[in-house]
């Protein structure tokens, strides 16, 4: 499979085609490598399934968790590991909201925007984080601060509606978040 099919044509035909940027292409990550111990863990994961392809989400999670995003090299590496065409992995990256095509910050703040949290002011929390980190409160999708430390993202229902508003900082849930609590969460991110 030609890797070019899933990445930006690098001015291959300098003319009309390359002038139109492909939205959100996969980033290049020339130094992408997977350490041996991680390979061992992932290979064990693959054995959980009768068909290797089933492991693709788990492998994508592992890559996203380690590098903060999924690059072209990562997609190709996973595809090779699972004996798939890269497009089979790429189509997952564009479908599932938890995978990012651009590098994300060390601390990923997911703020729930769905009804129960919205009724309890999750929009104010999102706004507060954005302003504090110099991001656009009305911006779409995941936004990362200039220093690369923080990513702020509005996400759909996080299943903690009884303790709304709720945010997730990396894997940790913070419930009944107030503006003061939000500041404390940021201070705790070091």
């Amino acid at each position: 499979m030609n890797p070019q099919t899933i990445s930006t044509p690098q001015a291959a035909d300098a003319g009309t085609a390359s002038a139109i940027p492909i939205p959100n292409p996969l980033c290049e990550q020339p130094d992408f490598s997977v350490p041996a111990e991680m390979v061992a863990v992932l290979d064990e994961l693959i054995t959980h399934y009768p068909r290797k392809r089933s492991a693709s989400l788990m492998l994508l999670h592992a890559v996203e968790e380690r590098y903060g995003y999924v690059s072209r090299q990562a997609v190709e590496w996973i595809a090779a590991r699972l004996e798939l065409a890269p497009i089979n992995v790429y189509e997952l990256v564009t479908f599932y909201p938890m995978f990012h095509r651009q590098p994300t910050g060390r601390f990923h703040l997911r703020i729930c925007r769905t009804l129960s949290c919205a009724l309890r002011d999750s929009y104010k929390i999102h706004d507060h984080f954005c302003r504090k980190l110099g991001l656009d409160p009305h911006g779409h999708g995941a936004q990362t601060s200039k220093d690369g430390m923080f990513t702020v993202e509005f996400v759909e229902c996080l299943a903690s509606c009884g303790t709304a508003p709720v945010i997730q900082c990396n894997d940790t849930f913070h419930e009944e978040v107030t503006l003061e609590k939000a500041d404390k969460i940021l201070e705790g991110c070091k």
Binding site: P50, M58, L82, T114, L115, V155, A159, C161, G162
Partner: protein, 464 residues
Amino acid sequence: MPQEYRQILKYADAPGYTPDVECYLRHGGYQILKKTLEIEPKALPDGKSMSPAEQVRDQVKLSGLRGRGGAGFSCGLKWSFVDRRSGKPIYLICNADESEPGTFKDKQIIHKDPHQLVEGMIISCFANDVHLAYIYIRGEFAEGARILNRALQEAREKNFLGKNILGKGYDLEIHVHRGAGAYICGEETGLIESLEGKRAYPRIKPPYFPAVLGLYMCPTIVNNVETLCAVKHVVDLGPSEYAKIGTPNNTGTRIVSLSGLVKRPGYYEVEVGKVTIRELIYDPIFGGGLRDGRQLKAVIPGGSSSKILKAGERFKLKRKGPDGKDVEQELDMLDLPYDFDSLIAAGSMSGSGAIIVLDDSTDIVAALSNLSEFYAHESCGQCTPCREGSLWMSKALHRMANGQGRKGDADYLLKIADNIPGGRTVCAFGEACSWPVQSCVTKFKDEFVARGTQDEERRAAGSK
């Protein structure tokens, strides 16, 4: 007096109760599994015999247990559809994708009592001759996945899982599989596609009924976390004792997730049908009422996809009187018993057991806009009516919520919403995204029309 009836969450919040296997064993854990594995084949009068697995399936069927995930379909019936003659392996998947807005019950079980789910799953797998099962947990529950993995590892070490479980010759392996933030994975065929490593595009039924052509085109059972836990209690109590909990055709307990603008949002396990919506919202042991000075505006009774109930709405329901005869009764929306059948009779559903309460401070246009944005974001994009329709509705509502409404918007929204469901889409997402719009706009039509009219007049007067 309404009260909680804690069966599944009996120990979850008890002081000192921890999610490890030793604590679970101290509280009688895995005893029901032992009991299940010790069932002897039963001789039937006609000379045939009933295998232990068949007996468990029979118990679940007789108990009247209905699925707790959303559709409320009979669990025993679902199991009875499984193709057992194909010679292919049968898979069981626990649907822990909990992502219906308003729902947060499965998370309590997974985080606080994971072994109960594991035990319920092993029993269910045994009953269905399953040797490989998965827990499909939503991606955001990374901590939940770690807790479950730990629990499964502990269960393996104690030989509750693995080869020759407890020396009874039954083999089973369970693995945790993480989703990645897509709501559509809660739909069972979408979940199966996702577990196969593909985009979660739901499959068309027929022919892809999971019970016949599920995971890897093999017979597959997909059950919700709470349902699988309930199976353990069915086997523990026996079907007739279990059926005494709750009300006829609505047996057992349910964990209700209460959120929105009440004083005490939270999860409450109750006997199905023994508690009314009013009690769940106003009783001090449940929601504790609305915030001071507020009036009820509406209730979303079963997760965001269910049709909204407006305060003051009345419904005529057929109910069994004390003499056992059907009597027609007119009930206020708040007096509906919180069960499967009453809410269906009221034109809505109890879905995943999630109640979202809206008070008079809520802008209904903004609230619906919020939900529509959710559906527009989560539509998998496979079927045009749903992909386009959910987005159009969301755009129109977003416009309305931001002062750019039009007089005709209410009818426009209804027209779109009416053209999505009803067999035009592969899965029930078409219904799920249009029901809230249909019900909100119909029941609060004056507010939607007034909003659009005001906006139009303001624009006509020259101000933005």
